[in-house]
């Protein structure tokens, strides 16, 4: 029994430690990597700026642009550091810790659309770029991209990099099997509206049994939402006073209803994006179309692989433009060289650098001069049957509207999308989905 008691004590200690371990991560501020080198005391001394980004593959596509900068600025060298491919799971929590603790963040940092709502509400973290004369960049940007770079105090803190821009990627071989047109212009004509899209899907499904028409619902849900938001005051989950309107905004309801309709019609493969089953779905030809923002083209070619080269093509998206994703660059207050960092941010978001990034990674430029440039318009994508992606995305990215992002936009978006996906996959009954949608949105915002 003595042995028992000792074990009991040991286990008490062990359990204390286990609980402590579970939460000790909460206190770890992470390493302070990416700190700026060089002493600023000696004025003309060579300085190093750290550029921190996220994303898989070529991420922001700044390799060439940074090399050019480094060659032209021997005294201001840039260290381009892509930290991770996961924004919301790794990069953003880490970045917020660095911003909070006042050390660790780079001189120029990338922020995804999903984090902008929070970033705007925290003026204390970022340098006012207006004091370095970057207000002059306003003419380069469409209004919405510019306005989302203004913080709660109305100061400019971030400059836009790329935009989503929407298209529909489709499998020509599966369309052929279903007796649908395969030429991208004819396919685009097939679905001028979303109702046409469902009709085409039903035609497809009546002929093809071993593949579904679309991969999943959340891409389509987001595209319809961004299109509908443009008709409803450019707001989605929050109004401009930061009040939750997810359950009242007609744009949200329309997008939700459409999603429910396409799911109930049995056109979805019920696969959630960026999961292993979804990746497998590409290789096993489980779906014939998916919503393709500009950066998705690289995901498709990378996931489906050489075997499917030329079997994919790109058509325009029903209902006109749409947006998914896109990022900004900001200069944290903790930067020791804010002036040079602001210059770098301005350079990287210039039309010239944006076109370099487009060449490198397919990131669609957000500046108007870059969008109008012949380089972009004539661009084609070899993997997608040499589709003229410049022409396809051009009108889509030009008609983008500013969507207001609330402070807790990212949390609400994540929560309600789980309901949308759950409804499609059967975890949430159709009849209860809208109510649940409202409840989880409420909770995530609270």
């Amino acid at each position: 029994m003595i042995g028992n008691m000792r074990r009991g004590k040991m286990l008490a200690v062990a359990s204390v430690m286990t609980a402590a371990l579970a939460v000790s991560a909460a206190c770890g501020s992470g390493d302070t990597g990416g700190q700026t080198g060089g002493s600023s005391a000696a004025a003309p001394e060579k300085i190093t700026l750290t550029l921190q980004t996220f994303g898989g593959g070529t991420n922001f596509g700044y390799k060439a642009a940074v090399e050019k900068w480094n060659a032209e600025h021997p005294n201001v060298q840039v260290k381009y550091n892509n930290l991770t491919d996961s924004f919301e799971n790794v990069y953003w929590p880490q970045m917020l810790q660095w911003l909070q603790s006042g050390t660790g963040a780079g001189d120029v940092v990338g922020i995804d659309e999903g984090g902008m709502g929070l970033a705007k509400a925290r003026p204390q973290f970022f340098t006012d770029l207006g004091q370095y004369g970057l207000q002059s960049r306003q003419a380069d940007f469409p209004a919405w991209k510019w306005e989302n770079g203004l913080n709660a105090e109305g100061k400019l803190f971030a400059l836009g990099t790329d935009v989503g821009g929407m298209s529909i990627c489709y499998r020509t071989d599966l369309f052929k099997k279903a007796g649908l047109p395969t030429d991208r212009d004819e396919v685009s004509k097939l679905w001028a509206t979303w109702d046409d899209f469902i009709k085409a899907g039903q035609d497809f499904q009546s002929k093809v049994k071993d593949a579904k028409f679309v991969d999943s619902v959340n891409t389509i849900y987001n595209v319809v939402l961004s299109q509908e938001a443009a008709k409803n005051g450019n707001v989605t989950y929050f109004d401009k006073d930061q009040q939750l309107i997810a359950d009242k905004n007609p744009a949200v309801k329309t997008a939700f209803d459409f999603t429910q309709k396409i799911s109930q019609a049995g056109l979805t493969a019920k696969l959630q994006n960026f999961t292993d089953p979804w990746n497998t779905g590409f290789v096993k030809s489980q779906f014939a179309t998916l919503g393709c923002p500009g950066w998705m083209l690289g995901v498709v070619s990378g996931t489906a692989g050489e075997e499917f080269k030329g079997k994919w093509d790109v058509a325009t998206v029903p209902g006109g433009g749409g947006n998914w994703g896109g990022s900004w660059l900001a200069v944290p207050k903790q930067s020791k060289h804010p002036k040079e960092a602001a210059e770098l941010a301005s350079y990287l978001t210039s039309p010239e650098a944006q076109l370099m990034a487009f060449k490198e990674g397919g990131n669609l430029p957000s500046t108007i001069p870059a969008q109008d440039s012949p380089d972009l318009k004539s661009a084609t994508n070899e993997y997608f049957n040499n589709a003229p992606i410049g022409e396809i995305f051009g009108p889509s990215i030009k008609s983008l509207q500013p969507t207001f992002l609330g402070e807790k936009h990212a949390q609400v978006k994540a929560a309600v999308e789980q309901v949308v996906i759950g409804m499609d996959q059967g975890a949430v009954p159709y009849g209860q989905a809208w109510q649940r949608f409202g409840e989880v949105g409420q909770k995530a915002a609270g």
């Binding site: 286990l11 579970a22 996959q425």
Partner: protein
Amino acid sequence: MSVNLHSQRADPVPPPRLRPGRHHAGPQRRFLSQFDIRATPYLLISPYFLLFAVFGLFPLVFTLWVSLHDYELAGGDAAFTGLENYANLLTDASFWNAVVNTVGIFVLATVPQLVLALMLANALNKRLRGRLFFRLGVLIPLVTSVVAVAIVFTQLFGRDFGMVNWLLGFFGVENINWQNAKWSSWIAIATMVDWRWTGYNAIIYLAGMQTIPRDLYEAASIDGASSRRQFWSITLPMIRPTIIFTVFVSTIGGLTLFAEPVMFGSNRMEGGSTGQFQTIAMYIVKEGFRDFDYGYAAAAAWLLFILILVGVAINYTFIRRIGGNQ
């Protein structure tokens, strides 16, 4: 050990010719040697406690402090709110959902696991051919990494191309989306846990069984006890301390379950679209690192700690009844 130490010290071997000037300081020297004897052991074990203080005790206390504040990452005024976080948690349906999931998966995983381990150990304790091979064999799952196990099992439980659904297909069962419902996701996760830990517990039981004196069994055989009777009346009561140990460890492991359900849910902290298999540990990470609500997450961590203590206490009262009162 300690006896050795004393005997060495008791035989002082003083270096007589060394620095005679200091030699008159006899009491001081004695004090030093006393200090040496008394303090050295503490000094030697102190690294553990120092590390524990820095990486165990401090986070623990800090977490308690955070849990009493409205502590948000990136902003928030971190105002003292007393027990508000706890009060909110106790009325938070999604927290209780996580508790139910955690306890459910724990029961579903641990009960078959320990029973199976006991049966395995009993079999391995018998004289059989290639005993070493089998004994090592049951331990092999333990050396695979949790993440690898989770990835492989998540694929086995895949909806469209998983082997489990393929096998069930022969019996006319439609493809099951294992992530979709509580029961199916719990079974899948419990399977991963069991696969990895059953052998480990079996080996511990086996070690316990080997300390039981053989003559007990011989005497029982002479008295005509069947081998089943021997198992219930000798083996089980004799390894009771071992069983208590494994139950405690399983309770702690089960209630802090994290890696398997996370991998099973495509690396997301929600644990399925309606939180079908979100465990408390996942809930804590979600609140703290996805929604940046540190105070709330810290409070949840403390409640998890209390839950583990309660779980261990309940299990202890159950297990000590095994094999009757002694």
